[in-house]
């Protein structure tokens, strides 16, 4: 899976803003905290849920089951707003 083409991000202070220049791709703003932004960055390249969980565990001191649940919940949110290509 991967973020749709045309999704753009920029850090504003400690918050990552994700938008699309083309409203046909996505109209709105996704505000992500540091952890979510970490996942968004990885979604700029083709990746899997498994790899995202691995990356989260490597970066943060977190139990794998907790990380997996967080990744799943986050991906669900991104799917709901249709910014993922799978």
């Amino acid at each position: 899976m991967k973020l749709k083409r045309g999704m753009l991000t920029r850090m504003i202070g400690d918050t990552q803003m994700m938008v699309a220049a083309d409203p046909d791709v996505f109209s709105g703003i996704v505000r992500s905290n540091e952890t979510a932004a970490f996942l968004v960055e990885r979604l700029k390249e083709e990746t899997t849920e498994e790899q995202l969980t691995d990356a989260l565990c490597a970066e943060y001191d977190v139990e794998r089951t907790v990380a997996a649940a967080d990744v799943a919940a986050f991906l669900e949110k991104l799917r709901k707003i249709r910014v993922l290509e799978e």
Binding site: G6, L8, T9, R10, M11, I12, G13, T15, M17, V19, A21, D22, I29, R31
Partner: protein, 292 residues
């Protein structure tokens, strides 16, 4: 060919009618036109060669920055779309709002159409009189720094040179003007400027001037006048809908990068307001400091 200078950027218009010519008149760049025509005369009969020669004659390194933007369109709206897209590539950004200068400092009021931006600017003119100069009532440009462009100095020069007249009596609590010496290229560096554009709203209020941007207020109609500072994240949310975003990703990314810098440097406020003079007092006290 019509030569213009808009927000410090040289612009060429290939085709125009009388209406368009009048529309752009305050932004015409006579110097550039004369210069290029002289070049054309110097190489007669080489029409295609002239273009290449004039662009290769640009100083190396800054060619992309200093070469004119070519815009085309049959209406001012079409020309605006073309220009805004290309301007973003030069890090100059169109925003929807009413901009004015008070004592040489720039302030921008933005909001969705119909909220009362122009009305609020008019109220500032009523309260502060000729201390206010309208920059643009609808679509000003924002940019980081003004480089060494001389036109950027006009507004400040006008203020800091009292000439023969007596210096103005300072009222208690009046804002101190920030006086700066002209001719220092770096002094505009890293500062956000708000610049006039020919697209100045249905009342045609604005002028070909620039001012350092000292504050932005997002307007919201309310029963009581009240102002609060927005966090950069909330400010982003409101400004994002009013700044022109090119559809092309690379240019759109420049808008986002500019906004990140803008939000660090320029305070953004939410102004809940009625259309009255008290709203100006509330806004100016927060945005400009105490004003007698």
């Amino acid at each position: 060919m019509m030569y213009l200078n808009i927000a410090g950027v040289p612009v060429k218009v290939a085709a125009w009618n009388e209406e368009i010519r009048k529309f752009f008149l305050p932004y015409s760049a006579e110097g550039l036109e004369a210069e290029t025509e002289a070049e054309a005369e110097a190489s007669p009969g080489m029409k295609t060669g002239v273009e290449a020669e004039s662009s290769s004659g640009m100083k190396t390194g800054s060619e992309a920055e200093s070469s004119p933007i070519n815009i085309s369109g049959t209406t001012s709206e079409e020309l605006l779309r073309d220009l805004s897209n290309q301007m973003a590539g030069r890090n100059v950004f169109l925003i929807h709002g009413s901009a004015l200068s008070l004592d040489g400092r720039g302030y921008l009021f933005t909001a969705p159409s119909g909220t009362g931006k122009s009305t609020h600017s008019r109220l500032w003119r009523e309260v502060f009189g000729d201390r206010v100069v309208m920059i643009n009532d609808d679509k000003p440009f924002l940019r980081m720094g003004m480089g060494t462009d001389e036109r950027s100095e006009e507004l400040e020069t006008q203020i800091q040179e009292p000439g023969e007249s007596k210096p103005q009596l300072k009222r208690p609590g009046e804002l101190q003007l920030q006086l700066k010496r002209p001719g220092e290229a770096e002094r505009t560096h890293g500062k956000v400027y708000v610049c006039g554009s020919p697209w100045n709203g249905k009342h045609g209020l604005g002028s070909n001037i620039k001012a350092p941007l000292s504050g932005i207020a997002v307007l919201k109609q309310a029963k009581e006048n009240r102002i609060e500072r927005l966090s950069p994240q909330d400010a982003f949310r409101f400004l994002y809908t009013q700044i022109y975003l090119p559809k092309e990703s690379e240019r759109a990314q420049k808008v986002l990068d500019f906004m990140a810098l803008l939000l660090v440097q320029v305070p953004v406020w939410m102004l809940y307001c009625r259309p009255d003079h008290d709203a100006v007092r509330v806004a100016a006290e927060a945005m400009c400091g105490k004003l007698g």
